[in-house]
Symmetry: D2
Subunit: 132 residues, 4 copies
């Protein structure tokens, strides 16, 4: 299992008129955690791009367990649990001082720019294989 955590402080612009964070913004935070995980394992998104790939989202799932509020300090975890095959699955959890606010996951494909899905880059799979 490869895990990485980023600390997020909720911005005012992320709230809506219910007085809590709008649900769409959780995915921006998960993305921050996902890209920080990619960087932490030595394969940052700049390298993904430099090698001519995109890493688009093809599926999302999320459960909203408790509301996040303006100015909350949150821990956002991104986790890779097992070696990917053609698709990559990443899991997320968001916590505020140990309270679980959100669980989710995303599935991704590697894709050539302007083209279809391809196998994940071999160098990236090697990095994962060493850690999983």
């Amino acid at each position: 299992m490869i895990e990485h955590c980023v600390e997020i402080r909720v911005r005012f612009v992320e709230t809506d008129q219910m007085g809590v964070v709008h649900h769409a913004h959780y995915w921006a935070w998960c993305e921050v955690a996902r890209l920080a995980l990619m960087e932490a394992i030595g394969y940052p998104y700049t390298r993904v791009q430099a090698e001519g790939f995109h890493f688009p989202v093809i599926e999302l799932q999320g459960k909203y367990r408790a509301s996040a509020h303006f100015d909350d300090r949150l821990s956002v975890w991104a986790v890779i649990r097992e070696m990917p095959r053609s698709r990559v699955e990443i899991f997320y959890r968001i916590e505020r001082q140990g309270q679980r606010l959100f669980d989710g996951s995303s599935r991704h494909a590697f894709a050539r720019k302007g083209g279809g899905a391809v196998r994940p880059p071999a160098a990236w799979l090697e990095i994962l294989a060493c850690r999983l």
Copy 2:
């Protein structure tokens, strides 16, 4: 089945540096369709609020089948398939000239402001019962 469709034109601000729409924005479009459906059946969100309720998202699922691009004209469908019990499930599909770009769903609770989940308002259930 209760269906409602809104037409969306993709905004420049919704794109990201992959050159396509960022995945988080699809949920804002689904919300537009969901609230338009609520209005179309005679129970607009302003009434939800006036009666002291929130209608928070508690779960999301989405499959991204093809990319949306700047300036695309999209049809965003919101669908209620069956009578809700304590939770309400709403389905979405997004199309561009008949091509499916996205399928998704959201689950919602009715909640008292600042309080926990409650049963959906009786008046709302009656409206649905007449149409489903």
Copy 3:
């Protein structure tokens, strides 16, 4: 004077916990109006891009006169008042049923992708000259 108006309906995601639209989102609406104006005069942004240009914002000014609310139907005007020289100035006003909510302006440069500012494309200046 070249004017163009688009109709915007305020989205829930555009509100914040003050219960009104967050100020940052007005600029996304102005952009919608600006790009619709570009299209209306026969020089859509897709052409700007196809010819190898960007049209970045280099300056913004805005006065927020009254709040916009969820579900408001707004008229967003983009206006070019005079022939641009090296920089292009575009004015905006946002109204709700005749009430002025916002006045603003943006200044833009034409720029080569990855390069510095250049003179506006001759074909674009000709279009403006016929209309101003």
Copy 4:
């Protein structure tokens, strides 16, 4: 002069298809810096709200000098230069390793919720008077 700086790391969702940060997002960063300044002087936004006030934006100005990119680490400064009268003016500058990317300012009113503009709270003016 009262100054406060926050460090921002650019998110992927903040880019657009020009490959740089969309201009609207700078205002969300300025807001982060403004509210952090409010907190640093001992008058956080939670107190503004608890005392029944809003602090809406009534005017914005910004000059975009150079583009911000995904993953950039930016310093965002908020500055109060002089004692406010009825309106409060706050200045911003955004830098990347000493390079100036953006200068801006915002004007604000204190307002009663659901009401019109009022004088800034006396306690807040006292805090500023001690520091300016």
